[in-house]
Structure formats: structure tokens, C-alpha cells
Symmetry: C2
Subunit: 477 residues, 2 copies
């Protein structure tokens, strides 16, 4: 660490990381940061394709689990927003207010949704009558707005956020708990495709979602040694149902409040992928969601030019027939070196180089973006080979990031050992008092306790109580 | 007309239409109008699927014509908005203003985009350097906001609008003109799939898009005899390019302003489909975009129940294998009559009824939503039959609506003949003075002159000039 270079799956200095991150994002054409409002960026075509591919994966998992897609309005009346006390306290300071329309001052100011609980729940009350209407499982993909006061950063800390939110209502607490587990399974599947290993941590009382009973934060480790939250899964119990009066009639005719959960993700998924897998040459995209999965580069010097181009077009057709997203960089006035460079900057998983050598032997040279490995194969097997390499690449990107995460979790029994940018596993008695002391003294956050099985036990870092639960302490990105 | 019944492709009284429209929209579960902000509705799952299917079609046509998808921010700074004078004049009275964020008054108020010219064009200047960057062809699908002061109506007159907008930049006026033609071809293809015959009218000077050189409005005729604009295609020439300083270097090194066009559509497409094709039983959806294209209804009395259900599931698998969107209404406690009714309310194009008769003979009874026709077919051919019927239905829905449009265009040579809710084709000398007099005296709008070939010529309805162009005069929905 400290060396001014971004190697994938190695630690890097946060200041260098920041510079590097901004550069590769610009070079890859994912987004344009020059929009004249702070914290609001433009999705360029390449970035929007990437985000749309991630959204399609998410949508697929949602539909498999019987969630239905909806679209609620953006603007929320002030009075609806103010019904759940903790929720207002949590979001009140970061909402944008519409106060005027045309030449009129609005009677009731409208806020831009920072999340959609307070837009949806007044209507849930109308949608749900009896147990036959439950479970209600919906999701939407929308823009949300938060007046972020810290330094903004593309994808990970924005004021306009591309957001996914699922909302569910259930008859019982048990069914709501099952929903949380289903959400975490979906998260696991998605994380595999996005090559984002993570920790699923039950947040502390003072760090949970405003209005929630508890929150599971899903955190990925950035090369800076800081954790980036990439998803939040929330158990509301009947907190919001009570505030918004969402009742159902059970099988015995009794009226009860519904139990609710939510699951949120955002464009941060893109930020995590860029940060974790990128290198000095640019971003590296997981094969399943890459807008271009294979780029063919014809190396056309001399008289074989037309034959090589024809050969490339044939390869492209074969790959397209197998539903692989492929293009050819056939720009006339650009040298192969620049084309390689461009393909690397954009993080395209596989490159196929074709020169007169390959043409003659009816082979291809396949180059992997993550490892840089170069292998020659018969062109007959191209579809199979590409699929194999995509699969291997996905596996390896996940595994390497997972190793990096595991290598950077350090068990400590003493605050004085906490000096680096790592994830520290500590003993914590669970009290707010001890937690806050530890956070203050170490200048880090307790990100929570493992939602799943935890093998580690320790001694509370502050009060010294023995055999207490393990908590994860780290800086937040 | 005047009879209190909504027959498809027949005239209906506007007041009755209004009541009918609101009812069928509610019954079909497309949208929920009970959201507590006027003019902002909730897309329910069924409605959002329909809109998404329309959006996918549009996206397909856009990609075929080399447009790329982007996503620009929602909020526009006041100073950027104010650069094109006519544009502000046109939209100034109907924008929503964000003036506060958290506890701060904003230094520069931000407006919610009513359309995205003023969000995009400051950046186009950065994206375009030379002729090599042209043409620039992008589109996005976003929510836009207009503070509509008239009575709002689901899909057709909303304050939050689901919006499609394509923006292009070209080197020359000719290329921009070609773009307009390409847009109109896309419109024709889409209109066929949506069964929305229309008039493509070059709007009057005083009715064009604010900032445009000219506007082609695409209008469909509602059963009320009023025209509903379903798309707008705009030639900007260099009007915005001059205001936003969007220049390119041409092949000779000269710096010139780009020529721009836009193409906009919205959720109005849904409103037009509902209004034109619906009948007393509910909405009728064009087969290609219907969320459910076929519904199978098992009629399960007596002992054959399980066999019938099994038979239905087999049919469903066959149809799904052919990528047809199909479901089975296998609710236990609902009678067939109610199931038929539900399928009709939702506008599902085809119904397959299966009782013990069909089971025994290995047939199906196919019922068409638009005509109500009922035919029995061998189950062997089910995929082919369904595709045939879908195709026939699309053709016929388009044709009938086209006949209704043609039947309701009336040539007149005298203002006194203008008494009904119809589309009047009149002679118009083209002067603003005559146009405005005609509009005022007839209490109708001149929606423009045909963009394509026009065979009709007439005498100006006001000044009496002979052999002048034909214009279309009608009430606007």
C-alpha cells in the first residue's frame, strides 16, 4: 500500500484512489460529471447500458419471487411525509422542497422522494383489505433525491440517485422475517453476477434506517480498506403500518396491522464494481452485465485487410447468434494499440484480436481484460470458448475480491491495535454506550453484527464483558 | 351520437366519454388515481407493464436507427433554463420550482424538467467538437413535470408525465429534415403496433413547440370527435444551438452551429388506446403490447376438473415456448362468468375457454376481445392460431379506427357548416390573422396542414383567397 498505483485486489491510499476513480470513470464514458448541478450527473449511453443490465438482472430475480413492478409519483405532500416520527428525523434535513409552481406558491409544499415509504403507504391502506391481499410485494426503479452535504462522488454519493426499492406487506412477523431471508438470497445471487462479495451486517440501533425495527446493511470492501454499503434490507415490523394505518382483516375477521419490509439498492453497485475491480488501465466489467461482452479487433495491415474484416464479421455473427453482446472496432484511422487501450478503458471482458496470422490458421487470439491472458483458439469453438472464459472470469473476479475482503478482516482485542484502514472484528457487548465510545475513540463505525452465522466471540472492547458478540468496525466510504 | 353507450369506433358524447374513460381505467387496474397530489397517478403493475411494452417497442425502433439511450438529471438550474427566449415564454408558467433543500434556501432555484432541452444542450456543447461527432442521436425515458392548470385526466393530461424524448444534432439543415422524416417513419411503425391511426400536421406558427422552427403534431381522433396529440416532432434549426452555443468544426475547419430536432411521446399513447378501442365492457389492448396476450379459462365443473387444469397447463406451456404472454385464471372460488368479465375489463386480446367438451375433443374455444367472435380449433395448431388471430386483430383494430378517422373528416367551405365535433378540412390562406379569426369564430383550433401530400385545396374560410392550402380544424382534447 501507499505505492501510487491501483492494482486490483490490493490496498490503495484513499487520496490516490479518489483521483484514480474519477479518472477511470471519465475515461470509460460511463457518466458525465459536468452537469451544472452538484451531485447530479449524466448517464452516458455506455453507463446507462451497464446500469440497465444490472436492473434487468434485479428485475428477473424480483419477478421470480413474485414481486410486481410499479411506478409511484416523485412528489410527496409534506403532511404525508410527517406521519412517521423517526423517518422525518432521519430524512428531514436532506430533502428537496418544491414550494412554487408556475407563478403560485403551493399551499402544501411537496418534497422530492428521498425513498418512497411516505408516497406508497397512504395508498397501501387502500390496496389492502383482507389476508387475501397479502403478501403484497412490489418494487420500482426510480430517481430519488437526497441533499447530500458531504463531498459528492459519482455513483456512490449523489444528490440524484438511481434507486431500486422493493416494499412488502405480510400478515405476520414470521412471514416478514422470511422476506428478509429471500431478499438476502436475491442479494447473494446478484452479488455473484456483479462480482461483489460482501458482509451482511445487522446495523446498530443508531445506524439503522429511520423508522425501521432493524436494518441489514450489505457492505463491500473498497481497495481503500473502507466499506461501501451497496444495499439495505429493512424490517419495519408494524412501525409504518401503525403510522399509516395499514390494516388487514385476518381469517377470523380480526383487524391487524401488516408487517412490512423493504429492500433498497442503487447506482452504488456500479461504483463498487468500478472501485473493486478496476486497475491502472481502467474499469473491468463483470461479463454478465457488461454492455459489450466481447470486442473484436481486426489488425489490418496490407493486402489481407478485406479478408480479415470479413472473417471478423463472421465471428461477430456467430457470437450474436448465441446472444453474446459483441462489436467490432473497425475504425480505419486508429492503430491497434489505441484500440486495445480503448477496449481496456471501457472494461470490456474479452477481446478477440484477428490479424493475418489468425486468418490463415482460422484461429482467434482471445485476451482477457482481468488477467491480460492471451490465448489462441480454433475459430470453430468460438462461442463455447467465449462462454467458458466469461464464466471463468466471473468466478475469478468474485474469488479475488472475496480473498481481499477476507484478508482485510482483522480480529483485535485492543483499541490500540486499530491503526490501519481495515475491517476490524471486535467484541462488543451490544450496549449503545460502549459502541459509541469505541466509535469515537477509533474514529470508525460499528457497521453491525453478522446477520448469518458468526463463529467469532470476543471481549467487549470498552467494558471488558467476556464472550460477547462480534461486531465489525471500519471506516465508511 | 348522444346515445349513452360507448361503442368502439363510434362517436360518443364528451361528458359520457369522460365518465366512461375514468371507469374503465379504474376497472382495468392500469393506474390508481387516489394518490394525494392532483395530476400525479400511480402506475399499477398492469399499467406499468403496458407502458413498458410500449417503451420497449419505441426503444427497439430507436436502436435500429442508431439512437443511444441516456439519462439526464431531473433538476435544471434557473439560469440554464432562461437561455432560449421563446422556450421560457412557452414553459415558464408551468414549471415546478425547488427552492429549498434541507434547511437551506437554494442560491439558484432549480426547476423540474418540463422537457430536457435546457438540461441537455449546455452539455452538447462539450460533447460536440467536430463533424466527426455528428450526427448525435440520443433519447431518454423519464418523468417530466408540467403544472397543468386545466382539469387533469389519467394518461392524457397529467402533472407528472412519463415521457420519451429523442434529441438529435446534425451538420446541415437537410440532414435535420431527413431526421424528421425518419421520426415520422418510426411513428408510423409504432402507430401500427398500437393501432393508432393519426394525422401528421404541421402546426401553426402560434401553436408550435416553444423554441422550434416548426412542429409536426401527430394527432389521433378520440370518439368524442376531438383530436388528441400523441407525439410531437420538432425542427429547431439552429435556434437552440445559437442560444446554447453548440458549434462544430466542419471538414474545412469552419465553425458552425448544429441543426437540431426532437421527437417526444408520452403516456398519452395509453390514453389514446384506451379511448379509441375501449367499449362498454372495458379496455381493448393491441396484441403486441398487451401485458397478457392470451388468458386461458378452465371451466371446471364436476369430475373432469384436474384433467381440464392439466390440459390448460399444457396449452400454456406451448404458448410460452413461442414467447406468447399467457396466464391461466385458475381461481377456485370464481365462476366462469366473472372470469370472462375480468378478462374483458383488462382488455386481454384473446381468451381460450376450456371445458370438458374441449378436453374430450382436444380443441380450444378462442374468443376475441375486440369482436367477441368465438371459434373452436384443434389444440394442435394453437400457437399458429393465436398468432394469426393476434395479427388479424391488430390489422382490424387499426383499420376500424382509421375508418372512424376518415369518416369524421369533413370538407367545409363555410364557417356556418361547422357545428359538430368533427375534424373539418378547410381552406386557409396561411396568415395568422385569418387563422385566428377562424379559430375564434368556430371555437376550434387549426391543428395545422398535412406534413405529407395533400390532395385538397380550398378557399380561405375568412379572407376568401382561392386555391389555398388545406388546414385541419378541430377541438383539442
Amino acid at each position: 500500500m501507499g505505492e501510487e498505483k491501483k492494482e486490483p485486489y490490493e490496498k490503495v491510499d484513499p487520496r490516490y484512489y479518489s483521483r484514480w476513480y474519477n479518472e477511470v470513470i471519465e475515461d470509460s464514458n460511463l457518466t458525465d460529471k459536468r452537469y451544472p448541478v452538484k451531485g447530479m450527473n449524466i448517464w452516458r449511453p455506455y453507463g446507462w447500458k451497464l446500469m440497465s443490465n444490472i436492473d434487468s438482472k434485479t428485475t428477473g430475480y424480483m419477478k421470480e419471487t413474485d414481486h410486481e413492478e410499479v411506478k409511484f409519483p416523485l412528489l410527496i405532500p409534506e403532511d404525508e411525509f410527517q406521519k412517521e416520527a423517526d423517518h422525518i428525523k432521519g430524512f428531514g434535513d436532506e430533502v428537496y422542497w418544491v414550494t412554487r409552481a408556475g407563478r403560485n406558491e403551493l399551499d402544501v409544499p411537496l418534497l422530492l422522494r428521498p425513498t418512497s415509504e411516505t408516497a406508497m403507504y397512504p395508498v397501501f391502506d387502500l390496496w389492502i383489505r383482507s389476508h387475501a391481499d397479502l403478501p403484497l410485494k412490489i418494487f420500482q426503479m426510480v430517481n430519488v433525491f437526497r441533499y447530500e452535504t458531504k463531498q459528492t462522488r459519482a455513483f456512490t454519493r449523489m444528490r440524484e440517485i438511481h434507486f431500486f426499492e422493493a416494499h412488502t406487506c405480510h400478515e405476520t412477523a414470521e412471514e416478514a422475517e422470511e422476506q428478509i431471508k429471500e431478499d438476502l438470497e436475491i442479494m447473494d445471487k446478484l452479488a455473484k453476477k456483479l462480482c461483489l462479495p460482501n458482509l451482511q451486517l445487522k446495523r446498530t440501533e443508531w445506524d439503522k434506517f429511520p423508522g425501521a425495527e432493524y436494518t441489514v446493511g450489505v457492505d463491500s470492501l473498497l481497495p481503500t480498506g473502507r466499506l461501501l454499503q451497496i444495499a439495505g434490507i429493512h424490517q419495519y415490523k408494524t412501525n409504518f403500518a401503525e403510522a399509516y394505518d395499514i390494516m388487514y382483516e385476518d381469517i377470523d375477521g380480526e383487524h391487524k396491522h401488516v408487517h412490512q419490509t423493504t429492500y433498497g439498492m442503487s447506482a452504488r453497485l456500479v461504483g463498487a464494481i468500478v472501485g473493486i475491480h478496476g486497475d491502472e488501465k481502467g474499469i473491468v466489467l463483470p461479463p454478465e452485465i457488461a454492455p459489450i461482452q466481447v470486442r473484436i479487433i481486426p489488425i489490418t495491415y496490407g493486402e489481407k485487410k478485406d479478408d480479415i474484416l470479413g472473417y471478423c464479421r463472421g465471428l461477430k455473427e456467430d457470437l450474436e447468434a448465441a446472444d453474446i453482446r459483441v462489436d467490432i472496432d473497425d475504425r480505419e484511422d486508429v492503430r491497434p494499440g489505441s484500440k486495445f487501450f480503448d477496449s481496456e478503458q471501457k472494461g470490456i471482458p474479452l477481446r478477440i484480436d484477428v490479424g493475418s496470422d489468425e486468418l490463415e490458421k482460422e484461429t482467434i487470439t482471445l485476451v482477457r481484460r482481468d488477467t491480460g491472458s492471451k490465448d489462441e483458439y480454433d475459430s470453430d469453438n468460438i462461442v463455447e470458448k467465449v462462454k467458458e472464459e466469461h464464466h471463468a472470469m466471473e468466478e475469478e473476479m468474485y474469488r479475488k475480491a472475496e480473498e481481499f475482503l477476507e484478508d482485510n478482516i482483522v480480529d483485535v482485542e485492543n483499541m490500540s491495535e486499530i491503526t490501519e484502514e481495515k475491517v476490524y472484528r471486535i467484541g462488543w457487548c451490544g450496549s449503545r454506550r460502549c459502541g459509541e465510545v469505541v466509535e469515537e475513540k477509533t474514529d470508525r463505525h460499528i457497521l453491525g453484527t453478522l446477520y448469518g452465522e458468526e463463529e467469532y466471540q470476543g471481549t467487549c472492547l470498552h467494558c471488558g464483558e467476556e464472550d460477547v458478540e462480534a461486531a465489525y468496525l471500519c471506516k465508511k466510504e
